[in-house]
């Protein structure tokens, strides 16, 4: 049963980056079933993110449509905290498809970011704005293929 629920969650996409599922974003902490009741624990990426309520509603909708049940409890929890290292390899590729560079792996907050262009993979990029159109993204520029692009901010508990 829990495997079926994970499959359903794979169909729920980030409302603002519709190439990536909430599973590949690393937002799903735990799925459990007790009797008829399904419990799903989600980890918020950024706390002020207005997409959280939409994601919750989309999870409920997907469970209703694909599993035929409304006995679903979706809770946001903070332990463990979401970090950008929770992204799956598939998730990192999905971000690139959308034109967003995945965050550097195992970021500790001390080193400079090395971000490759999601279009041409060039390392010859510059940071234009640490903050971007949504809480989780920064704005960069590729000096190789001359495209502006976005990158997902690295988030680590080491920061």
């Amino acid at each position: 049963m829990t495997e079926m629920i994970w499959n359903v969650l794979h169909t729920v996409k980030d409302p603002e980056i519709d190439s990536i599922s909430i599973v590949d974003l690393g937002m799903v902490n735990r799925v459990s079933v007790e009797g008829d009741m399904i419990s799903i624990e989600l980890l918020p990426t950024f706390m002020g993110c207005p997409a959280l309520d939409i994601i919750k509603a989309n999870v409920l909708k997907a469970c209703k449509e694909q599993l035929g049940t409304e006995a679903v409890n979706v809770a946001f929890v903070y332990d463990p905290p979401w970090t950008s290292s929770r992204l799956t390899e598939e998730g990192r590729e999905s971000l690139k498809e959308f034109g967003i560079a995945p965050p550097p792996k195992d970021f500790t907050g001390v080193e400079d970011w090395k971000i490759h262009c999601p279009y041409c993979d060039s390392p010859y990029t510059s940071m234009e704005n640490l903050f971007g159109p949504t809480a989780c993204r920064s704005i960069l520029y590729c000096k190789q293929c001359k495209n502006p692009f976005e990158a997902m901010k690295p988030i680590s508990t080491m920061m």
């Binding site: 207005p50 809480a135 680590s156 508990t157």
Partner: protein, 272 residues
């Protein structure tokens, strides 16, 4: 002794100290996020507009989490906590409620960018010190939240430090305005650093360290920045307009509350 959930709160004194701390944390972030949001479309350049909006959104998110925690402790709904409490029930520092400058958002806003940079930078440093202490809070839900908030605060600090250093060192009008702003912000900053009348109890209960320690660490965090910009160290902080932790506030807070809760008050029962 660690408290894992609201059900495990051992006694009335613990709960009172916890509530009082949460109100301070929530109200500080809430009102400063609001003042920050009043810069929307007015920031010095478009990139700053994007960055500042993002920071305000994060900060409002932090306030929401604290209000949610208060809701779980039986203090009422998070929406009413944010919108419906009169100014004398608010526990934010007076410095954070002060208007951004002359004029108002819709008519001739002549806001003060130097004041904004200094207020936000010094506040972010103080917030970082508090959050680091809260990671070891005896109230575990608060400790977990602190770990999460810290990951976002990292970017806020980078941002405000960059502005602060560049403007203080710019020379000319910018340096003069920044030094005036530092003086003005320091005159009220004790109001941010204080934990109010129940500060001692908070420390005894292990909710957060005592305010003397926190203040010292705040000063130490600023020391390298002050020394590299030739600002007098340690800074002298005061609390001239009153103690927000005791519910003392200025007309600026009433103005802010009436504006920010206008939509909420038009129909408090509505679902948004």
């Amino acid at each position: 002794m660690n408290v894992k959930s609201p059900d495990e709160i051992p006694n009335k004194e613990y709960k009172e100290a916890l509530l009082s701390l949460l109100y301070q944390l929530a109200d500080d972030d809430f009102i400063l996020a609001y003042r920050g949001s009043e810069w929307l479309g007015l920031a010095p350049h478009i990139e700053e507009d994007v960055a500042f909006s993002s920071i305000n959104q994060d900060t409002m998110g932090h306030a929401t989490m604290y209000y949610q925690m208060l809701e779980e402790l039986g203090e009422g709904s998070q929406d009413s906590l944010a919108h419906a409490r009169p100014s004398h029930e608010r526990r934010n520092a007076i410095l954070l409620e002060e208007v951004n400058g002359q004029g108002n958002y819709l008519e001739e806003p002549r806001y003060d960018w130097a004041f904004t940079v200094v207020r936000h930078y010094f506040y972010s440093v103080a917030k970082k010190v508090r959050i680091d202490s809260l990671k070891n809070s005896s109230y575990e839900p608060l400790a977990q939240l602190a770990i999460k908030i810290n990951t976002e605060l990292y970017y806020h600090l980078l941002h405000w430090k960059t502005w602060f250093m560049q403007l203080v060192n710019a020379g000319g009008e910018a340096s003069v305005k920044m030094r005036e702003a530092v003086k003005r912000v320091m005159d009220e900053f004790q109001g941010v650093l204080t934990l109010g009348p129940t500060g001692k109890e908070m420390a005894v209960m292990g909710l957060i360290e005592d305010e003397e320690n926190l203040k010292k660490r705040w000063e130490l965090s600023l020391q390298p920045v002050f020394q590299s910009t030739n600002l007098a160290f340690p800074p002298t902080t005061a609390m001239k307009k009153g103690n927000g932790r005791k519910g003392e506030h200025t007309a600026d807070l009433d103005q802010a509350l009436s504006t920010l809760s206008e939509v909420y008050n038009s129909d408090p029962a509505a679902t948004w």
